[in-house]
Symmetry: C2
Subunit: 363 residues, 2 copies
Amino acid sequence: MPETKPGTTLDLTLDAPELTARLVDIPSVSGTEKPLADAVEEALRALPHLTVERYGNNVVARTDLGRAERIILAGHIDTVPIADNVPSRLDENGILWGCGTTDMKSGVAVQLRIAVTVPAPNRDLTFVFYDNEEVAADLNGLGHVAAARPDLLEADFAVLLEPSDAQVEGGCQGTLRIHLRTEGERAHSARSWMGSNAIHAAAPILARLAAYEPRRPVIDGLEYREGLNAVAIEGGVANNVIPDACTVVVNYRYAPDRSEAEAVAHVREVFADCGIREFVVDDHSGAALPGLSHPAAAAFMAAVGGTAQPKFGWTDVSRFGALGVPAVNYGPGDALLAHKRDEHVAVERITHCENRLREWLTS
Amino acid sequence: MPETKPGTTLDLTLDAPELTARLVDIPSVSGTEKPLADAVEEALRALPHLTVERYGNNVVARTDLGRAERIILAGHIDTVPIADNVPSRLDENGILWGCGTTDMKSGVAVQLRIAVTVPAPNRDLTFVFYDNEEVAADLNGLGHVAAARPDLLEADFAVLLEPSDAQVEGGCQGTLRIHLRTEGERAHSARSWMGSNAIHAAAPILARLAAYEPRRPVIDGLEYREGLNAVAIEGGVANNVIPDACTVVVNYRYAPDRSEAEAVAHVREVFADCGIREFVVDDHSGAALPGLSHPAAAAFMAAVGGTAQPKFGWTDVSRFGALGVPAVNYGPGDALLAHKRDEHVAVERITHCENRLREWLTS
């Protein structure tokens, strides 16, 4: 018998559900993706129609057929920590259980199956497998590739195979977190006129938030829903002290017709005359356009069927948006099962997604 | 030489500044007042014109001359923790330094000097020496005496010898702390319309506070100044969650023409239509009338001179107010020096207060 390295090779002739199970059985909790990245790289390098590049534990494989359009199929190879749910288990109802079955090794299996079964796609393809999606944003492999090798991510349209229950979710809303600080002057609360109350000074901020009417813009036929909300408020020194500081933490979720700069400007304008002493952008991730009006996207929608839904939450499609690449989420898993101990996926959904994508890329 | 018990006897023939020094040198941090209470009791029992009662570490001594009026002279015998400022030290400028010099062993010395030097006062006198004023309200010795032996505190007028820089401070304002809670429903902040924001729901509360115009009622010629202030605000679950709860902690400082029930009713009325889910009285200490229109008080003012000031902060005079006894603060120390490492008092102020009180009680 030839020597094998169990646990570190991938057989791309397995069908997508079997391949999903194999991927689940190679643990790849964020930060420990190397064995799986090695296996993905090795398997793809065996395919003569692909050019493979490795950047850290990120693997990018491309066709170069001179097609009029280029499509990215992207997925992260890491998972949240294992919770007694590895190895995978296929039950009698066609449900595959295990860590990452939904989020998102079933999507990665679909990527790999398209890579191996569609050597001459009607559009050039770029497959992106990246690490550290489940942890802090600055570790995100897609972000690292975008920063170091943006050329690898040039494309007309991107599909991120994050769990969307095989429905198309277009683009994503941006999320901006801002600290609004008011100022006062301390005094004993028995002599409050000697000071100035910073919590009272926050009254116009809360009034503005309570009266705010969020937009619901329609973009590429998708109705987005914005929101401007206080997610925290904090003020107070002691029970007998007039407080000299109060902070309202505001989260603005905004539709992808606004740029990051426009989003900040909008929040500034909303609170322009509220006597705010400090306006601090604490965190900001831009929105991504769904790009459904692009011809490649129209063909994609025709192939996968269903009605596209707007994506309200922020996802890595935004990283494509920042590169000018319209992007959607489309993957076999159910997002509501992600990160759960009983994470699972219906194998029928995996095959369904694989077939739909193949139809789009070969018809 | 006869055996002595150093540190546990008081010589009431010392003058008031010397007696203050002696009192400082018998440590009596809250909870450890027994040796000093013993010394006070022993010294007072030696005076034939006084009837002495002991309740815990509280000592009450009374004349019983059948006078038309009865006056209380009260002071606490405990101090905050010693901070390298015991024993006392008298400097060349007539300043006595040490823990309790201001708050309020100089006042206690004046009480003791009046007790020993005025055997036949023009008004019956009740001297109250009590423990645990510097700690939690439920430990307060004056409160314990008021609850267990209210008969000992019957009087027409009370002088609390707390530091007031030898100025009369009349009555005290009440202080009421209330938690106002709003309620909402959690949701992911990317889908805020699925929830309801409890911080936004607090907007009417802050608006009401910001617009509130506090009263400045004149009582017995003293202008009090009320205040209604947020002293804390807290809300928020996580940066991406619509918060389902927010609490505004409000402190109402109110003039002594309002009862405790009226104060609570007023705050309820102020926030009546603000959508408050919970209204919780967290702490409440009533106000005390200055009683300066009482004949005994008028004579007191004439004797001590100066212009009475309203007392904005809450003090133990309120405990007399609750018993129906008008009360003022009048003591030799400077309240701003209380609880400080460099606590000190001018001996001239001690003698000044002693002389003024003696004049009032003997003329």
